[in-house]
């Protein structure tokens, strides 16, 4: 057995065919208790360490522990890995691992015809079949003839495999996900050692038995596949070519949390993070609660209003207030966000969007809070809105949001979503030292101090740390006189102050670099996207452009203000198309801003676009036969 690992690395060249593939999508699906998220992450880690590009999409049930065997209880992890730059977790699945009947029922439609299905027989007992209304066992009734089915009693084999390590019963059974992982590793020619190391590191001290059992299970699965030549052909996906640098795998929520910590340590002022838990945003709170030494004060408030109001108070106090939620919570925060607009205090509002309206489908993704971000406050209340395109970009964007909030003395809305927040990708680790420090000291001279004087470059008022001698001032949500900040009901002053608040946000355009356009620089169709649909919309545009169409693609990071060059770019195309996971909010915003026709491709299904459907949608907007 000592050679197997090497075998894995070298490939089983002698014994069977190995086929080179450019990319593969594998989906692990099972009951919530089956450990599919762990299996998926392990496979992901093995792939990134090997050097593939990856994109992942975990799909949890809404319940904590949904009843086992039901459709609602299925937990899945989709991984797309490749030898080239990829940006989506894959449209269709090449290999499906189904630990029970429910998993099969739910995900079979995603499996390519001719794809591989690995099924645990023991999850297809009469009970399991009944729970999901299978009249007969699909593993036996011939209905899966179009797929390459590999079935084994994985549960029983796992139990046998881990017995020597000393594990029995329920605990032994729990290792079956690692057994499957072994099979998958064999199939895709992954090295085992890194996973073994990882397992040892994690469990060896506290639970050496578990560690040994897990390793034994992986090895057994691997051997099983190897020995009985389960697969006539195995596959290999070579390393992708990455920009040189040091990489890690990162999820959007983790990147966001690290960006906040970076802002705290590079801004020269602490960060106050006021939050109330909500799916899918809570992980940011969890991460930051562990990063207190970076100068992040986390405050789990009694509700969302207290979360944002305390953050506004902290910003008044002189450290940066950040608050975080998802749609329903952001709605609740709107009144207090407006207080920051009116008092002109910095504030970062993180919205990890989810499917709605109301409670909606909390574990599903959507990018439908754009118009709420822009307009969801009483009266004329401008705030900048920024949206990351990928999990890794969350870091850069949240740092940018914090920097702009402070520089312009304004709340900034950061729109992530469940897809970005939970999804992961390889991330080139940025140089911490190169992050621009920001610590504004403008306007803080007690001589001639005016709390509402404006910095001519930014339109921002001074940011006063409470307690500074000589700068005592009062602020209020009531309209204020220019410069002095005293209460004013003067009509002309209100007009000027309203304009000043809008001008300030408009000035942020000076922070936006020229907009890169992919593909045709003018022509028939410009696709405009924002947020988490970046990968799919661009990949589809690449496909259509490669087919010789006059198609361009622009992805927006700032939604307010829009890039200053966007208006002129839009004019260079006959048609504009905005694909969005909402009813067409950016399309409306572009029309509303530029007064030009904009087409919308809107799908509201709580999940990401597939590249395939977008290719079709682009073609539908292009001249026929052109």
């Amino acid at each position: 057995m000592s050679t197997v690992t090497e075998d894995g690395i070298l490939g089983n060249t002698e014994r069977h065919e190995i086929k080179e593939l450019d990319s593969v999508t594998i989906l692990f699906a099972g009951d919530s208790g089956d450990g599919m998220q762990i299996t998926g992450s392990q496979f992901t880690d093995a792939s990134v360490v090997f050097g593939n590009d990856i994109s992942t999409f975990p799909d949890f049930p809404a319940e904590i522990r949904a009843p086992s065997g039901t459709l609602a209880g299925v937990s899945a992890y989709q991984l797309h890995f490749s030898n080239h730059d990829i940006r989506t977790p894959g449209d269709r699945v090449d290999t499906l691992v189904a630990m029970n009947a429910a998993a099969l029922k739910k995900y079979l439609p995603e499996l390519e015809k001719g794809g591989i299905l690995i099924a645990d027989k023991s999850g297809f007992g009469p009970n399991e079949l009944k729970k999901v209304d299978y009249a007969s066992n699909p593993l036996e009734d011939g209905s899966l003839s179009e797929y390459r089915v590999v079935q084994a009693d994985i549960t029983a084999q796992t139990i046998a495999a881990v017995k020597p390590a000393g594990l029995t019963g329920r605990n032994a059974e729990r290792c079956k996900n690692f057994y499957t992982l072994g099979i998958a590793y064999y199939l895709y020619d992954r090295p085992l050692e890194p996973t073994f190391d990882e397992i040892r590191k994690r469990f060896a001290k506290k639970e050496p038995v578990i560690a040994e059992a897990n390793i034994a299970a992986i090895q057994a699965g691997y051997n099983f596949a190897h020995t009985i030549e389960l697969f006539k052909v195995t596959y290999r996906v070579r390393r992708a070519v990455f920009e040189p640098g040091t990489y890690r795998n990162i999820s959007g929520n983790l990147a966001t949390a690290m960006g906040v910590a970076a802002a705290a340590s590079r801004s020269g002022r602490k960060v106050f993070f006021g939050s109330y838990p909500i799916t899918p945003a809570s992980d940011i709170l969890h991460e930051l609660s562990r990063l207190k030494h970076f100068g992040v004060l986390t405050f789990q408030a009694e509700d969302e209003i207290a979360a944002v109001a305390s953050a506004v108070g902290a910003s008044f106090g002189g450290i940066l207030g950040v608050t975080c939620s998802s749609g329903p919570g952001i709605a609740l925060k709107s009144e207090a966000i407006n207080l920051a607009v009116m008092t002109e205090l910095p504030l970062v509002v993180i919205d990890v969007q989810r499917s709605g309206p109301s409670t909606g489908m909390p574990t599903k993704t959507e990018q439908a809070d754009l118009l709420m971000a822009l307009f969801g406050r009483n009266s004329d209340s401008p705030i900048p809105v920024i949206a990351p395109a990928t999990p890794g970009e969350c870091f850069e964007c949240i740092y940018e949001a914090a920097r702009v909030a402070v520089k312009y003395m304004t709340p900034v809305m950061f729109l992530s979503d469940g897809y970005l927040g939970n999804g992961a990708e390889p991330w080139k680790i940025p140089d911490a030292a190169a992050l621009k420090a920001f610590n504004p000291s403008w306007g803080l001279d007690p001589a001639g101090f005016k709390p509402y004087a404006r910095n001519p470059d930014t339109g921002a008022r001074p940011w006063v740390p409470v307690g500074t001698p000589g700068l005592n001032y009062r602020t209020t949500g009531i309209e204020k006189a220019e410069n002095s900040g005293g209460i004013s009901y003067d009509p002309e002053n209100h007009q000027r102050m309203t304009k000043a608040r809008f001008d300030k946000v408009a000035k942020i355009a000076q922070e936006i670099p020229a907009t890169p356009v992919f593909g045709a620089q003018e022509g028939d169709l410009l696709v405009v996207s924002w947020g988490g649909t970046y990968g799919a919309t661009l990949t589809a545009a690449e496909t259509v452009f490669a087919q010789g169409k006059k198609i361009g693609h622009v992805h927006l990071r700032w939604l307010n203000p829009l890039p200053p060059d966007l208006g002129s770019i839009l004019k260079r195309y006959k048609k504009i198309l905005v694909p969005e996971i909402n009813v067409g909010q950016l399309a409306y915003h572009l029309r509303g801003t530029y007064g030009i026709p904009v087409e919308s491709y809107a799908r509201i299904r709580g999940k990401a676009f597939t590249v395939g459907e977008l290719v079709t949608a682009y073609h539908a907007q292009l001249p026929q036969g052109a």
Partner: protein, 340 residues
């Protein structure tokens, strides 16, 4: 109430030094004027300069208070004074933060922040201007309005049972709970002094007369002429005595008080601000006119670590455990690979 000894001020301030200069715009005769004067007087004695204080309020007549102070001030939005103050204190832990709020602002829309700020023992001095009415919006009933009160939004009389602010504060876990009255400058200043000296959440209800929409609502018991018979002043360690000639007192009968002749035999209960279970303060907070004398003074004062202390302790502990924050290390995380 035991008078506190104030340390000799480092610098001499006058109450005027605490005035922002803005013209005070409450109705002539409003009780708010006296409270403002009392606060400015107390602060002027304490040696701290105006910039060392922050006053935070919500919205209401009373909530304009911070605008009249020369300290840092945040006149925020309705009901959120305590939430905003939470952030101010966290950001500037050495700042002394006072919160000014009304019965609507604090107990109606702000009720949730109220119970949670007290529970956490946030180091805030909270003055509730209780006029039993919404003043600024011109006279609707508030959570402390009495049942049956006829007003703009209850033309047939209020049907809601009034809230008892002190009992709520006690149940929420406030470490300092007191009551005073806008027509008694000496008492007010003494209570404010005590609150200022307390570390942790200090809650003070001030009976405040709104001359316009709820005039004389407390007059029956806090009126200068009769108050010796209708109020009882709490003094720590002293028996619960009252009356013009100190002729009456409160005796404990099981769980409730009886008002009795303070003759030799009657066992008059002795006030104890620090009573461990909070039951005494709770019982006193339940005494209402005309069945009982209405208590004024400090109901309860106990010590627990303040929230900002615990918050910063954790930050310090994390610093100690993990050393200076290393951003580069954080970004790298546990597992990387290098492409060259």
């Amino acid at each position: 109430m035991t008078p506190t000894t104030t340390p000799a001020p480092a610098k001499a301030f006058t109450p005027q030094d605490f005035h922002s200069g803005l013209i005070v715009r409450w109705c002539p005769g409003c009780g708010d004027y006296a409270i403002l004067a009392a606060v400015q007087k107390v602060l002027s004695e304490r040696g701290k300069a105006p910039h060392e204080y922050a006053f935070v309020s919500g919205i209401g007549c009373s909530s304009r208070f911070p605008l009249y102070m020369s300290t840092y001030g945040f006149h925020s939005i309705h009901g959120r004074a305590l939430a905003v103050a939470t952030g101010v204190k966290a950001a500037a832990p050495s700042q002394e933060v006072w919160v000014i709020t009304g019965d609507g602002d604090c107990l109606s829309i702000g009720g949730n922040h109220f119970i949670h700020a007290l529970r956490r023992n946030q180091d805030l001095k909270i003055i509730l201007f209780n006029n039993e009415i919404y003043g600024l919006t011109k006279g609707q009933y508030s959570p402390t309005s009495r049942k049956g009160l006829v007003n703009k939004s209850a033309p047939y009389g209020v049907i809601d049972e009034p809230a008892n602010p002190l009992r709520l504060a006690l149940a929420a876990g406030a470490t300092f709970v007191a009551r005073t009255a806008d027509n008694d400058m000496a008492h007010m200043t003494e209570v404010f002094r005590r609150a200022a000296a307390h570390k942790g959440s200090a809650f003070i209800e001030v009976l405040q007369n709104c001359v316009i929409f709820n005039d004389k609502v407390f007059e029956e018991y806090y009126g200068v002429k009769t108050r010796k018979d209708t109020l009882i002043y709490l003094h720590d360690g002293q028996p619960l005595l009252y009356g013009k000639t100190v002729e009456r007192g409160l005796r404990l009968d099981g769980f409730s008080f009886s008002s009795v002749e303070a003759s030799g035999e009657a066992k008059i209960h002795v006030h104890d601000e620090h009573e461990s279970t909070g039951a005494l303060a709770n019982a006193l907070a339940g005494l209402t006119h005309p069945d009982y004398p209405v208590p004024l003074g400090v109901f309860r004062q106990v010590e627990r670590p303040a929230y900002h202390e615990l918050m910063y302790e954790q930050v310090d502990a994390a610093r100690k455990a993990y050393g200076e924050p290393d951003l580069a290390k954080l970004l790298k995380g546990p597992k990387t690979w290098t492409v060259s």
